[in-house]
Structures are given as structure tokens and as C-alpha cells.
């Protein structure tokens, strides 16, 4: 006990004493000086008293005390100051060395800064996309409710929301029906209170300006369960969500508040219209809050779930709150202390089964959805599917760039280290320890790394503010931005230290291994130094290998983008404008919406500058999809079979304006009306699939498919006659081959049931015609915005956006890699030539031609490059398999990318060694030998 308390005092006293000494260094030095002087004086006085003469006394006193310099050094050591002093000296020395070789310092620091900056940028992006949690207190204990089931038999048939395939024929979704949510919430005892939300796009009129807005419908306990405090006003509460249609309030996002209301506190009490329903703004969310669905961007308007039947009526009854068939709402809850996830999932699973049986018809063949409790700390985390793989690839590539930069600097330092062998030998001869010398070298590396890290932080800052600009598209507002926070800073600092150690370690060990006698005896007069260059050369070969890998990677993605750009979509894409109009169902129920759009089509068609216009259920190459059953007449109905095909509903002018050829039969025309016989057109692929070797014209099919539960053919089936066969087009994206597709005429539809796309062919620029079009629409209904206005080309470009960002990034990595590798090759060859001046002089004196010397040096460089390229190609062949899913139009072992990458590296290797080779060839034998 006693010993422990002594130990404890010491433990506490030492850092305090150390810190005091470091902080008040001047005072400490003065005190030591004064103390020793006082001692000397006391001793002298005593000696004088003992009878010595003052001069003799002083002399004796000084001898007795000994060297004050040594004593002071030991006193400093007692306080633990030696390490600090030595480190400071190392730092000063390293600073002077770096300052002296400015060229090296600038090249090394700049290449490091670029590499670290690239890493910082990619890391901050990856962190933002994949690691950021919802900005609510204790996000870690949020759980998202989801379910899994078999694709063929799960009892859930109508989903509005996410739906994903799992292996082994299973599917998963995080959408629930509202009655299921309500009953789960009542029965739940194993988690904290469950809350519900649904994010979607709607029309909003804000300050008299009709626009599209992202909205989130939230349950009454949403805010209290998430524990979010408003920046202004109040939150949505249980009483707002109590009765359908009664909670006419909204909370808006901080972004909307800043954009539309200039952060004015008078926003409270103002009215905004959502789908033409006025709501009173009662609160503003905090700036960091992005809703429960996503961490990326906040919905702009939050209103109570109770308003759904009024604002966004859905289906037959209008209210989703009582609809047991439609599964659409997302449910979350927090874990309860002491209840494991597995226990909560098991309990909820039992409840879900019972609730599903109680709320909807379950047939004997159906299986019940099984509860799947997921991590909810990042919301629905849909971006994971899109970005996880690309981010991995980018992180690996950017890591290679950093490794390359490290190898480069290690190489340069190693070359300098050999030059400094003499210095090291002298220092060792004077008594420096090996550890001390290695530490000195390491401090030098770390100082260099710190320079690079500081530069990298600056590059990274600009890089990560640049990236959101790359991810924007032309027609949608994006508030996605990357936080440059302490975590990014910590990452950069860690990377910096790691690189410093990585590239500093080899030279440090090499320096500490120097033999005292070696460097002093040897005066670089040896004839050849082949063996010594080995470490440097393998480093260069390693650099070439990494550069090959990065260049080939960039090549693969570049060729993918080129293949995507060369895709023939099957219709004319130029001078084509896309726009969307979403008529709220409350004002425009079935029938009325058809009338509205028919009028709008006519009005837009009559606008000056518009050559042709067609309504369209979906926009092409927009990840959009309409799919329904296509059951040919005379085929026995099998309810387990999938009859689904992609389709579209279009106007009469569609085929002519899109220049999609009619291969047989006729296009839609004025003869196809509501009262005439139902007609359809199929594309060539569908004709081949369903009517092989037959003439499909005149054949009939139905799209009325199964009944609402999908268990039998609808009794009121209506046969549709095929009147034409058209050419194939790409459908939802550029990558997939044209799928089977069929078309129905807009004129024969009875309802739109949501938003409708407009395809507008015009020779005018979008800027010139869009204001006209907006006016045309507003004349029909002032609260009806024209949304998602973009050209077809912009839409296609947006589809290849990810590829373009990828190509931009990987190409710049490839370029950086080439530059670094050429510096490496140049460095090692120049060094080799400088060391072999004697040998070359002798060769030339003995009759070698300059040309032979030139070839000799180039050959040596080429061998190094070839070794690196071979290693790089092997790695590339292996790694390319891992990105197979990201490529289009080429195999991972794409010969064009591989060969051009290899050739490029050979060319760069030759170019980089050209100057040293020329220098070697122009050596004057006399001078070289005199040099000795």
C-alpha cells in the first residue's frame, strides 16, 4: 500500500515536473546556472576560510565541482529533458537539410501532398456516403424494421418503396402497411416506441412559387423518439397525428428556411401548399438533421402522417392509413436496454406473423413475411448498394497512389542516403548510436511527411468541396455536401505519420547499418556499383508495377465510358425535352386527370417552337420502369409464372417523333379512341419472345393479368389487339440490352394515377422554350409545376455520371502514378549514371561508341520497367475480375487496356531514362578518369 502510494506520487509528479521544465525552459537554465554558481561560491569561501589564497581557493573549488556543462546536462537528463532536446536538435537539423536540397523537398512534398490530398478527398467522400450516421442523439441504437420472404409466395403483393432481391429466391423490403405498423407498435414491448415515416416527392407552392419538394410524412411520435429539437418553433406531436386530415401543420428543413425565407423567424405561422393543401409552418428543423430515411440530404417539408389521405390520396379509398394491402411505410425504433437484437427480432417476428394474418387474406400457399431487424443508424442506407463497391475501388486505387508516392520518396531518400554514407560514418565515429542515427533519419522523413500532410489537407479540403459538384445533375437541387471534420483531419494525420514511417524506415535502417570504417575508407572509387543499386531498382520496379495497375484500371473505366457513350439507344435523343407534371389525385381523380393531360398535350403542341409532343408513362434511360403482365390469348394461366413485361403508354406522335421504326403493321393513330377496340404495339424482342416465327399482328393479349392478390386471371379481362411491331430501344438504363416492351395508346387510358412525362421535340434551346411551357401549364392550374425539366441528352449523361466521375478520378490517379513513376525511373537512372561515370569513362576510352553506352543505359531502364510492368499486368488481371460488374462492353482482361497500359509504361520508362542515358553517352573519357 505504501509502496503503491509512493509509486503513484511519482507517476503524478513526473509529468508535471517535465511539463514545467519544458514550458519554462529559460528559467530552468538560469536557475541551474545560479545554483551551481552559488555552490562554487560557498565552496570557495570555505576554502579561503581554511587558509587558501582566494585564487587557489577558486581553482580548487572549480576542480572539486568539475565541469558545470556536464552537470547541467545530467540535471536536464534527470528531468527527462534529453529526449526533447535531442528531438528539437533532430528537427532543426532535418529542417536545414531539407532547406539545403530544395528541389528534392519540393518534388517530394508536392507528390506526397497530392497523394495524401487524394486520399483525404476519397476518405471524406466514403465517410460521408457510407459511415455517416443520422444527426440525432444516440443514432447507434436506432433499428430499422424490415422483412424478408420468398419471391414467389410471400403474402405481400403491393409494395410502394424499396424491394430487393436476395439470394435463393428471397426478397426483402423495409415497407409495411400502416395497419401492420399500428398493431406492431401497440404490441411491441421489446423495443422503445416504434415510429413511422415515408419520404417522397410532391408538388409544393412556397411563397407563391410552384415547385417540386421532397417531403417526409411522419408519425406523431417521430420527433420525440428521434429526440430532435427544432431550431425554431415546435415539433410535430402526437396530437397533430391524432385524426385523419386534422394536423394541418408542417415543419420545414433548415435548408428550405434559409433558401425561401431568409432564416426569418416570421416563417412560423406562414402557409405553404403541398399538393394544393395549405399547411401552417410550426417549426424549423436543426441544420444537421436530414430526416430518418437518409444521411445525405434532408427532405424539405415534414408533415403528420394523418394528412396522407388529404394531401396524397392513394388507391381506391384514398387513405393508406386503413389500407391493409399496400405496404409502404418505413418503421424504426430504438433498442431497449437489456434486450438483445436477436430477442427483439424474434418477438417482433412472432407479432408480425400474427398481425399479417389478422389484417390481410393469407392463402394456404402464401408464406408470411419474416421480421428482419436492421441497423437503422444510417436510415434506409440505400446508397450502400450504389456506392459501396465504387468507393472500395476508389479507396484501393488511391491507396496505391499513396504507396507509389511513398516508394518514390523512399527511393529518392535511399539514393541520398548513399551519398550521405560519409556523414553517417563520421557521426558514428564521433560516438553516435545506431538508434540515434536511425531516429535522426526518421525525424527527417516525418518532417517531410508533415509538409506533405499539410499540403494534402489543403488539397483534400478543395477536393472534397469539389466532389459534390460532380455528383449534381443539371435539373435537380442538391444540398449534398461533405463535412470536413476532425475525423477527416485525424485520418490525414494518421496517413501522414504512416507514410513518413513507411518511406523513412528503409533509409533509416540502411543508414544505421553503415559501417564506421566503410564510408571513411571508401571514396566512391569503385568501378561498378551494380549490387548496391538493387534496393533502389526493386523500388522503381514496384513503382512501375503500381503505375501499370493504376493506368490499366483507368483504361478499363475509360473504355467502359466510351462503350456506354457509343450505345445506340434506338431512338432519336437530340432536341428532345423531358418534363413531368404530377397532378394531385384529390383535384384530379381518375378520368379528370386524363382530361387535364389531354388538354395540356394540345396546349403544349400549339406552343410556338414545339414540333411534336407526346405523353409518356415513363422517361427513357432514367432508371424508370413500368411493368405489368402481358398474357397472350390462348395461353393457359399459370399463377407461379412471371408474365411481367416492360411497357409504356404513349401518344400518337410518339413513334414518329422518336424515330422508332414501325417494322410491321401501323403506329397509333386518331382511329384509336376510348370507344374503339383496344390496341397495342410490341417491339421486335417481345415479338420474338412471345410469338416466335409467327405474325403477331392481329394477335390479342391482356395486361389485366392477375387479380389484385395475384392469384388468378382477372375476370374482367379485356383483350388488346396487336396492331404493330416497332424497333427495339433501351429502356431504363444504358447498360441492359433492349428488353421486350409493349406500348399502349394514351387515348385509350382511363386514368393516369400519378405523374406523367412529356416528351417534347423542339428546335429551340431549353432556356428559350421552358418559360413558355411553364406559362402554358400555369394557365391550366397555377399550383401545377412543370418538374424535372431536362433534355434527353442530359438525362443520358446523368446515367453515365457515376462512370464519368470514376473516369475523372481514376484517370487523374493514373496520371499522377505515371508522373511519380517517371520521377522514380529518372532518379534511379540518373543516380546510377552518376555513380558509374568512371566505368563509362573506361568503356569509352577502350573504344565503346556513345551509342552503345546510350543503349546500355536505356536497356537497363527498360529491364526495370519490364519487370514492373509484368508484375503490374499480373496484378491487373487478377484485380480487374473484382470490378467486372462495373465494366460495360469489355471483358476484365481487356486486351486493348492491358496492351496500351503496358506500352504507355514502356514509353514513359524510356522517356524518363533518356536524359540520364544521354548524359552517360556524352561522358568525356579524360574527364571521367581524371575525376578519380
Amino acid at each position: 500500500m505504501k509502496r503503491f502510494s509512493i509509486f503513484l506520487t511519482r507517476l503524478l509528479a513526473q509529468p508535471r515536473s517535465w511539463w514545467r521544465a519544458v514550458r519554462r525552459r529559460d528559467r530552468l537554465e538560469a536557475e541551474m546556472e545560479a545554483e551551481l554558481a552559488g555552490h562554487l561560491e560557498n565552496l570557495t569561501t570555505d576554502l579561503v576560510r581554511a587558509g587558501f589564497s582566494p585564487a587557489e581557493a577558486r581553482r580548487r573549488a572549480r576542480i572539486a565541482l568539475g565541469s558545470t556543462v556536464v552537470h547541467k546536462d545530467e540535471m536536464r537528463a534527470s528531468l527527462g529533458l534529453r529526449i526533447v532536446d535531442e528531438f528539437a536538435a533532430d528537427l532543426r537539423y532535418a529542417y536545414r537539410r531539407l532547406l539545403r536540397s530544395r528541389g528534392f523537398t519540393v518534388v517530394a512534398a508536392l507528390s506526397l501532398a497530392l497523394a495524401i490530398g487524394a486520399n483525404t478527398t476519397i476518405f471524406s467522400l466514403a465517410k460521408q456516403l457510407l459511415y455517416e450516421r443520422l444527426a440525432v442523439p444516440n443514432a447507434a441504437n436506432l433499428r430499422l424494421l424490415a422483412w424478408t420472404g420468398t419471391k414467389a409466395h410471400v403474402a405481400v403483393h403491393h409494395i410502394w418503396g424499396d424491394y430487393e432481391m436476395l439470394p435463393a429466391g428471397r426478397v426483402t423490403s423495409s415497407s409495411f402497411s400502416y395497419p401492420v405498423y399500428q398493431q406492431l407498435r401497440t404490441q411491441n414491448h421489446d423495443m422503445e416506441d416504434l415510429f413511422a415515416f415515408k419520404e417522397t416527392g410532391m408538388n409544393a407552392t412556397i411563397a407563391g412559387n410552384a415547385q417540386q419538394a421532397q417531403i417526409e410524412m411522419v408519425s406523431g411520435n417521430y420527433y420525440s423518439a428521434l429526440d430532435v429539437q427544432p431550431a425554431l418553433g415546435r415539433r410535430i406531436t402526437e396530437s397533430d397525428d391524432a385524426a385523419a386530415g386534422q394536423g394541418v401543420v408542417a415543419v420545414i428543413s433548415y435548408g428550405l428556411w434559409a433558401r425561401e425565407f431568409g432564416k426569418s423567424p416570421s416563417v412560423l405561422g406562414q402557409l405553404i401548399k403541398v399538393n394544393e393543401v395549405p399547411l401552417t409552418i410550426v417549426g424549423v428543423n436543426p441544420q444537421s438533421f436530414t430526416g430518418a430515411k437518409s444521411t445525405m440530404q434532408s427532405p424539405e417539408i415534414f408533415f403528420p402522417m394523418s394528412m396522407q389521405p388529404v394531401i396524397a390520396p392513394h388507391g381506391d379509398s384514398g387513405s393508406l392509413l386503413t389500407d391493409t394491402k399496400e405496404w409502404w411505410v418505413n418503421v424504426m425504433g430504438r433498442t431497449k436496454p437489456g434486450v438483445s437484437d436477436a430477442a427483439a427480432q424474434a418477438a417482433l417476428d412472432g407479432q408480425l406473423g400474427a398481425v399479417v394474418r389478422a389484417t390481410m387474406p393469407v392463402r394456404p400457399n402464401d408464406d408470411l413475411p419474416r421480421m428482419d431487424l436492421r441497423d437503422g443508424s444510417r436510415g434506409l442506407f440505400t446508397q450502400q448498394r450504389t456506392f459501396a463497391k465504387p468507393m472500395e475501388v476508389l479507396l484501393v486505387m488511391v491507396g496505391f497512389v499513396l504507396l507509389l508516392a511513398c516508394a518514390n520518396i523512399a527511393n529518392l531518400m535511399l539514393a541520398r542516403g548513399t551519398q550521405r554514407q560519409r556523414e553517417m560514418s563520421i557521426r558514428m565515429a564521433l560516438g553516435a548510436g545506431r538508434v540515434r542515427i536511425a531516429r535522426q533519419m526518421l525525424v527527417e522523413s516525418l518532417l517531410l511527411a508533415a509538409l506533405g500532410g499539410a499540403g494534402g489537407l489543403v488539397f483534400g479540403y478543395f477536393g472534397s468541396s469539389l466532389i459534390p459538384k460532380l455528383t449534381e445533375n443539371a435539373w435537380e437541387r442538391s444540398e449534398f455536401h461533405i463535412h470536413f471534420d476532425w475525423m477527416v483531419f485525424g485520418f490525414t494525420a494518421a496517413v501522414t505519420i504512416l507514410t513518413g514511417v513507411l518511406f523513412g524506415l528503409v533509409p533509416a535502417i540502411a543508414a544505421s547499418r553503415a559501417k564506421v570504417s566503410h564510408g571513411l575508407k571508401e571514396t566512391s572509387q569503385s568501378v561498378t556499383r551494380r549490387r548496391k543499386g538493387w534496393g533502389g531498382r526493386s523500388l522503381v520496379a514496384f513503382q512501375v508495377a503500381l503505375a501499370t495497375l493504376l493506368v490499366i484500371g483507368a483504361g478499363l473505366f475509360l473504355r467502359t465510358l466510351a462503350s456506354l457513350n457509343a450505345v445506340d439507344v434506338g431512338f432519336r435523343t437530340d432536341h428532345l425535352l423531358l418534363a413531368e407534371i404530377s397532378a394531385p389525385q384529390k383535384q384530379y381523380p381518375a378520368g379528370k386527370d386524363i382530361a387535364l393531360h389531354t388538354q395540356l398535350v394540345q396546349a403544349i403542341g400549339a406552343t410556338p417552337g414545339v414540333e411534336a409532343v407526346s405523353p409518356s408513362w415513363m422517361a427513357y434511360i432514367a432508371e424508370d420502369m413500368s411493368r405489368t403482365d402481358f398474357i397472350s390469348e390462348g395461353v393457359a394461366f399459370d399463377k407461379t409464372a412471371d408474365y411481367g413485361e416492360d411497357y409504356n403508354v404513349v401518344g400518337n406522335s410518339f413513334f414518329s417523333m422518336m424515330q422508332i421504326p414501325i417494322l410491321a403493321g401501323r403506329p397509333f393513330g386518331p382511329q384509336d379512341t376510348v370507344t374503339s377496340g383496344k390496341v397495342g404495339i410490341i417491339n421486335a424482342t417481345l415479338a420474338k419472345e412471345r410469338f416466335p416465327n409467327q405474325n403477331p399482328i392481329g394477335r390479342r393479349f391482356t395486361n389485366g393479368g392477375g387479380d389484385s392478390d395475384g392469384h388468378g386471371l382477372k375476370s374482367t379481362k379485356e383483350w388488346i389487339t396487336i396492331v404493330g411491331v416497332c424497333g427495339d430501344t433501351r429502356y431504363s438504363n444504358l447498360r441492359d440490352e433492349p428488353p421486350p416492351q409493349f406500348f399502349l395508346p394514351f387515348a385509350q387510358q382511363t386514368e393516369v394515377g400519378g405523374s406523367l412525362n412529356y416528351l417534347i421535340r423542339t428546335r429551340m434551346s431549353p432556356e428559350a422554350i421552358v418559360p413558355q411551357l411553364r406559362k402554358v401549364v400555369q394557365r391550366q392550374d397555377a399550383d401545377l409545376p412543370l418538374i424535372n425539366v431536362r433534355t434527353q441528352q442530359q438525362q443520358i449523361d446523368a446515367e453515365t455520371q457515376q462512370e464519368r466521375i470514376f473516369v475523372a478520378m481514376t484517370s487523374s490517379f493514373g496520371m499522377l502514378a505515371l508522373a511519380l513513376a517517371s520521377v522514380g525511373i529518372y532518379g534511379v537512372m540518373a543516380y546510377s549514371v552518376a555513380n558509374r561515370t568512371n566505368e563509362i569513362g573506361i568503356r569509352l576510352a577502350l573504344g565503346a561508341q556513345p551509342r552503345q553506352v546510350l543503349t546500355m543505359i536505356l536497356r537497363e531502364a527498360t529491364w526495370i520497367s519490364l519487370a514492373g510492368i509484368a508484375a503490374g499486368l499480373t496484378a491487373a488481371l487478377f484485380l480487374a475480375q473484382l470490378v467486372k460488374s462495373m465494366l460495360y462492353g469489355l471483358q476484365p482482361a481487356d486486351p486493348v487496356s492491358l496492351i496500351s497500359g503496358a506500352l504507355l509504361l514502356i514509353a514513359v520508362g524510356l522517356a524518363a531514362s533518356w536524359i540520364p542515358a544521354r548524359r552517360a553517352a556524352s561522358v568525356q573519357p579524360v574527364e571521367a578518369l581524371r575525376h578519380e
Binding site: 505504501k2 509502496r3 502510494s5 509512493i6 506520487t9 511519482r10 503524478l12 509528479a13 513526473q14 515536473s17 517535465w18 536557475e31 541551474m32 545560479a34 545554483e35 551551481l36 552559488g38 555552490h39 561560491e41 560557498n42 565552496l43 569561501t45 572539486a64 565541482l65 568539475g66 565541469s67 556536464v70 552537470h71 545530467e74 540535471m75 537528463a77 534527470s78 528531468l79 527527462g80
Partner: protein
């Protein structure tokens, strides 16, 4: 000063603690007191005294204040801290035990057969 003993390794700290335990002293005073108590029998390397003082202060066993010396000069006076007192007790006990054991061993005589 007929017979002087060189200091045993590691005993300087103990001597300093003991000297300072009798009252605050400056560095030269510590030296004098040790020599005085030992009857001039111990020689202390004057230079090694200060690193030892600094080490003990660094470890929190002694503390120092600047004050006036007997000849009206500014001097740094060292005094024992509570932790130092504990350490002195402990080391004294350890020393005594060691001395006892050594004494016993050295007194041993060959056993008669």
C-alpha cells in the same frame, strides 16, 4: 580525513533524503551535512549531487523554494515532501534489513566438524 569511503551505488538518494529530512537545505548545505553527519568519512562527488537532487525533485520526493542563504545570497532550498518522507522510511528499513543480513553473513565462521 584519514579514511574516506566511496559511496555505494544507489545510496546517494537515501543520504540526500535523510539530510533534507532534518530541515530545508540548499545544495551545498546537503553536501556539508552529509559530510558532517558521517564524520567526514564519506566523499560525495560534488557534481553528482545536483543531478540526484533534480531527479528526486522530479520524482516528487523533495520540493524546492528559492530563499535567502546564510550569507544573504539567493539560494534554492530543498525540503522533504510527504511522499519523500514515506520513501525515506521505506528505504531506511530496506537498508537496515540489508545491513543486518550482510552483517550476519559476514560474521559466519566455518563450522567445526
Amino acid at each position: 580525513m584519514d579514511k574516506q569511503l566511496d559511496l555505494l551505488q544507489g545510496t546517494l538518494d537515501l543520504l540526500i533524503l535523510k539530510a533534507v529530512s532534518l530541515g530545508p537545505l540548499h545544495g551545498y548545505g546537503v553536501l556539508l551535512r552529509i559530510q558532517q553527519i558521517s564524520g567526514q568519512a564519506l566523499v560525495i562527488q560534488q557534481g553528482s549531487l545536483y543531478p540526484a537532487l533534480y531527479r528526486l525533485e522530479h520524482q516528487g520526493a523533495i520540493a524546492s523554494d528559492w530563499g535567502e542563504s546564510e550569507n544573504n545570497r539567493k539560494a534554492k532550498f530543498y525540503r522533504l515532501t510527504a511522499a519523500g518522507r514515506m520513501r525515506l522510511d521505506e528505504e531506511t528499513e530496506k537498508w537496515n534489513r540489508m545491513a543486518g543480513i550482510m552483517g550476519t553473513i559476514l560474521l559466519a565462521v566455518p563450522e567445526r566438524a
